[in-house]
Symmetry: C2
Subunit: 206 residues, 2 copies
DNA sequence: TTAGAATCGTGAAATGTTACACAATTATAT
DNA sequence: ATATAATTGTGTAACATTTCACGATTCTAA
């Protein structure tokens, strides 16, 4: 049970977390089963049980899972029992959208700072946050001990900024820049390029 | 060779396309190899060759690939030799960001219309486009024969809007709403929830 | 003209992931 | 008290994906 957990399994846990939260908060359910959860997510019940079995035994035969207990366990596994400060790099339209998004705080993250290199944007107030100069990137990230960054800048400067973030101590980067980033092994990068996703679907369009 | 191509293979083609475009446009290269491409993407050369072999033989032994020819072939495979009109549903911050994003047009897509239900937003000009009332969704999509939609609305209305889009003829949906969507088999959905991605990475944070 | 290096495409092996199916347990109803 | 239905966790089988490794081809340089 202390073997390396497959990344594909880790990738599904947040989805379970999100759906379980919905079951509890929106529908007031107390218990659920791997069948019910799987049906709602389009995933087989066996897969859900197998995924969870990597971490322990959270259910009860005949009864299923107590939602709040399972939620607690999943948050614990994913290190979401604390709130992670996040640095947003880039104050363009997408940076704005992220800074105003209300969905972070209840799910384990908090936008702690926003950086931009454009003098016209520096000092601008974005939903309670002041846009800082990119020159303050290293000092602020070190001072606040920030580990997570979101990159919303053009591809041309994305690798440079990533290097600076990593040097400053960031170990998780969510990048919206349309470019592959090089990072050391201990740093995780997750990509979000809407065009890549649309192009994948285009294959299936007639 | 006419067996079903694995979806995971299709998923990598746009990434190859993007990197090859960069090699050609940014670095002025004419030829490349599976090794070079793989190194830049963090993918094994064998995987790239195997992926491409599903569709034909595009390289030359000893020489590698002619970039422009391979680009052409990939665009053809992914149905990107034409431009697809896209409907954006939701004119919030994220809808704005997408409507202003310059990265669609050269990669096969064009934002053709934006919808919102808020009377204060309807009529607003967004980068040349006028925000339309959500009541015009069906008629506009049918009229323009739109097959692709981007969902940037709250989870609470996402399933409803998806149903309406699918009824109107949309068969590819890129959803930013933090909820799992139900669609018929012939419809593709791709998800983008920044929090899900951050939560996945949080597992690896100490 | 020949040797050597680079590279592709691909069958087979290795590895990884998902689905099946069942013993064990729990709850419910009679 | 017992039968029935629901459900978990898991070993094993089935299936999917990746990697290996090699014959064939091409280019370059001596």
């Amino acid at each position: 049970m202390t073997t390396e957990i497959p990344e594909i399994v880790i990738g599904r846990l947040p989805v379970y977390l999100r759906e379980l939260t919905r079951l509890a908060e929106e529908e007031g359910k107390i218990n659920t089963s791997s069948h019910e959860l799987g049906k709602r997510l389009g995933i087989s019940s066996a897969q859900i049980r197998k995924d969870l079995s990597h971490f322990g035994e959270f259910g009860k035969q005949g009864t299923g899972y107590h939602i709040n207990y399972l939620l607690e366990q999943l948050r614990d596994i994913l290190h979401l029992t604390r709130e992670w400060d996040v640095a947003v790099v880039g104050a363009g339209f997408l940076g704005h959208a992220l800074a105003h998004y209300k969905g972070f705080s209840h799910r384990g993250f908090r936008i702690a700072c926003v950086f931009d290199s454009d003098p016209n944007k520096i000092g601008e107030i974005m939903d309670g946050l002041t846009v800082q100069s990119i020159t303050e990137l290293e000092s602020t990230i070190k001072e606040k001990n920030i580990k997570v960054a979101i990159l919303v800048i053009p591809a041309s400067v994305a690798q440079d900024m990533t290097d600076r973030l990593v040097d400053a101590g960031v170990t998780a980067v969510l990048s919206y820049a349309p470019i592959n980033l090089s990072v050391p092994d201990y740093v995780k990068v997750s990509y979000s390029d809407p065009v890549i996703q649309l192009q994948q679907m285009a294959y299936y369009l007639r």
